[in-house]
């Protein structure tokens, strides 16, 4: 069970309090109708799925309830950092 530092609660909490939210920094277009089918496909489905540094979303669902972002190494599962939603990509 991972220990995840919640940037809002400012403490490390057990994974079972959190819900994984997939890759981070994939913003929904302001006006999707302007997107081509290819662009829309990319927004919906294309993911970087890297081996190594991964920017991802978590929600402290059973804690403060907030979504936030994290950088985790997908080979070691070690978190490099976590930061609040809306903050710039780290």
């Amino acid at each position: 069970m991972l220990l995840i530092h919640c940037p809002y609660c400012e403490e490390a909490r057990p994974e079972v309090e959190f819900a994984y939210g997939g890759e981070a920094h994939i913003a929904r277009p302001v006006d999707p109708s302007t997107y081509s089918d290819e662009q829309w496909e990319e927004f919906l489905y294309i993911r970087s799925n890297p081996r190594g540094r991964h920017h991802e979303r978590w929600r402290h669902a059973h804690g403060c309830g907030r979504f936030f972002n994290a950088v985790r190494d997908t080979v070691t599962d070690v978190f490099e950092t976590t930061y609040k939603a809306g903050e710039a990509r780290k």
């Binding site: 069970m1 809002y8 400012e10 057990p14 403060c64 309830g65």
Partner: protein, 175 residues
């Protein structure tokens, strides 16, 4: 030859306890009726003005029976019947959830162990007067440390029966 004995009690047959249960150094009881409000706002001050009460500023702190659960979320646990203004039209959310949850109280030197049987938090490090949302195994709860050895647990109504018996199982060493 496989022969599977019937289970003694089924999940459907579990009943929510009504009388307190005394275990080895720990007592499980109902907290009794409460008024409960889910309070939300970006601006704590605006919300405080609406409800006319002070709000704890830091997540996990409590003040006047109001806990700060998140950056824009507070939870009030007040005497039954307490009313609260809704702040119509303002950038706040006041929702009466008095009936949504039940309060269970674990008290005694053994209370920490019972809670820790299914809650993965390091509760020993949780100060008196702190409160947080967390889980007991798969069920979401709120834990309020009301005293060194007194813990108030908020749980949604329909999960209370399971939680009550999970506590009892932990109290009796899963007997």
């Amino acid at each position: 030859m496989v022969e599977i004995a019937e289970i003694a009690v089924s999940a459907a047959e579990l009943k929510l306890g009504t009388e307190p249960v005394q275990g080895d150094g720990v007592r499980l009881a109902h907290a009794g009726p409460k008024a409960r409000y889910s309070l939300r706002a970006r601006d704590a001050k605006a919300l405080a003005d609406v409800i006319g009460r002070a709000l704890p500023g830091k997540i996990g702190d409590t003040e006047g029976a109001i806990a700060c659960l998140g950056p824009d979320e507070w939870y009030a646990l007040l005497p039954a019947g307490t009313e609260m203004p809704r702040g119509e039209g303002l950038a706040v959310s006041v929702v009466d959830v008095s009936s949504r949850a039940l309060g269970l109280v674990l008290e005694g030197p053994g209370a920490l162990a019972v809670l820790s049987s299914g809650c993965p938090l390091d509760l020993a490090k949780m100060g008196v007067g702190r409160a947080t949302r967390t889980v007991f195994e798969t069920v979401e709860i709120q834990v309020w440390r009301e005293g060194e050895e007194r813990w108030h647990v908020e749980v949604w109504r329909s999960f209370a029966t399971w939680l009550w018996h999970a506590f009892v199982a932990a109290m009796h060493g899963a007997k």
